[in-house]
Symmetry: C2
Subunit: 191 residues, 2 copies
């Protein structure tokens, strides 16, 4: 017998998500088709459509299944600079495995899904800055959101537009030329 037995529940779901992920890595996002994923998982399209309404949802689910929550633990190295660099490095690594094509595709077809991550990133940065202020590294933790998210947003922008993988110097430049000056400068917030 070819097919020993039918898969069900969580077991089946894992197979489907793995198939989607493999297909994503091999063919990219735009050329990923539901039929190819179904075929790779040795099942029918209906099994996919029963769980996810479209390609975008399936792919997002596959990404989550593969790499887990994106904003897991907040780095805490004891140095503000190192903490921020660690966050940026993590973003860059993640982007590296996906590639620009996948991100562009997802942004176009599932624009409502990414903002979530993008918002939560502010929380991570807030924690890092708060710790740095408590250590006395910077004058205050009272930093505008705009500044908190500046480095991560600029990195995201860079990854979306630059055709090439992110250079290590980009990360240090973001921290040293933009982020640190902004949070460490003695700034009175004008009312």
């Amino acid at each position: 017998m070819e097919q020993a037995q039918r898969r069900r529940g969580a077991e089946l779901e894992a197979v489907l998500l793995d198939a989607a992920w493999d297909e994503l890595m091999e063919t990219g996002y735009t050329r990923l088709t539901m039929e190819a994923v179904a075929a790779r998982a040795h099942t029918g399209k209906q099994v996919l459509y029963r769980r996810w309404r479209n390609r975008a949802e399936l792919v997002v689910a596959a990404m989550r299944h593969r790499t887990g929550s994106i904003v897991g633990n907040v780095p805490d190295t004891g140095s503000l600079r190192a903490d921020v660099l660690a966050v940026l490095q993590r973003m860059a690594d993640r982007f590296e495995t996906l590639g620009p094509e996948v991100v562009h595709g997802l942004l176009a077809e599932a624009p409502d899904l990414d903002p979530e991550v993008y918002t939560r990133m502010a929380g991570v940065m807030a924690t890092i800055v708060k710790r740095a202020a408590e250590r006395g590294e910077i004058p205050t933790a009272d930093v505008p959101d705009r500044v908190l998210t500046a480095a991560t947003n600029l990195l995201r922008h860079e990854m979306l537009f630059a055709g090439e993988p992110v250079a290590p110097s980009t990360l240090t430049s973001l921290v040293d030329d933009v982020f640190l000056p902004l949070v460490s400068g003695t700034r009175e917030r004008s009312e």
Copy 2:
């Protein structure tokens, strides 16, 4: 007679690009089809494919035809803050007429076309900063590229990710919380 005479050359091209633009405004990017554009221009698809290889090229051409060069004249109001705000405002306006769906779609299907604009923006900002330094508004015009492009890149990021039209307060926040502190802070560039 329905069709008085055949269009040719530049005349025909203009009709095609106008049709593409109208279609873009009405149905958006992803739902824009070559057949619809051809039909609207009262011609066949081959006429389109003879000039542009695909949807992305056609749409980009239509945008250029409609709105001309993107980085035209550099604002020169006499105030650094007002100059930068003017640049950001112009970006926001342009984005407003297109809408996020079009930009996302283009980014996904024609990722090589936008970097051009994105690079030239640095030149505009460099000019503005240079003038401000000559007026004595800021200590030096020797500002890293990273800083020069920070405001425009952050705005672009915002437009891509925020689901909503850009609030006026976003522009002022970018200038007052990020850009001006970066260029006006007395910074020694550490070697």
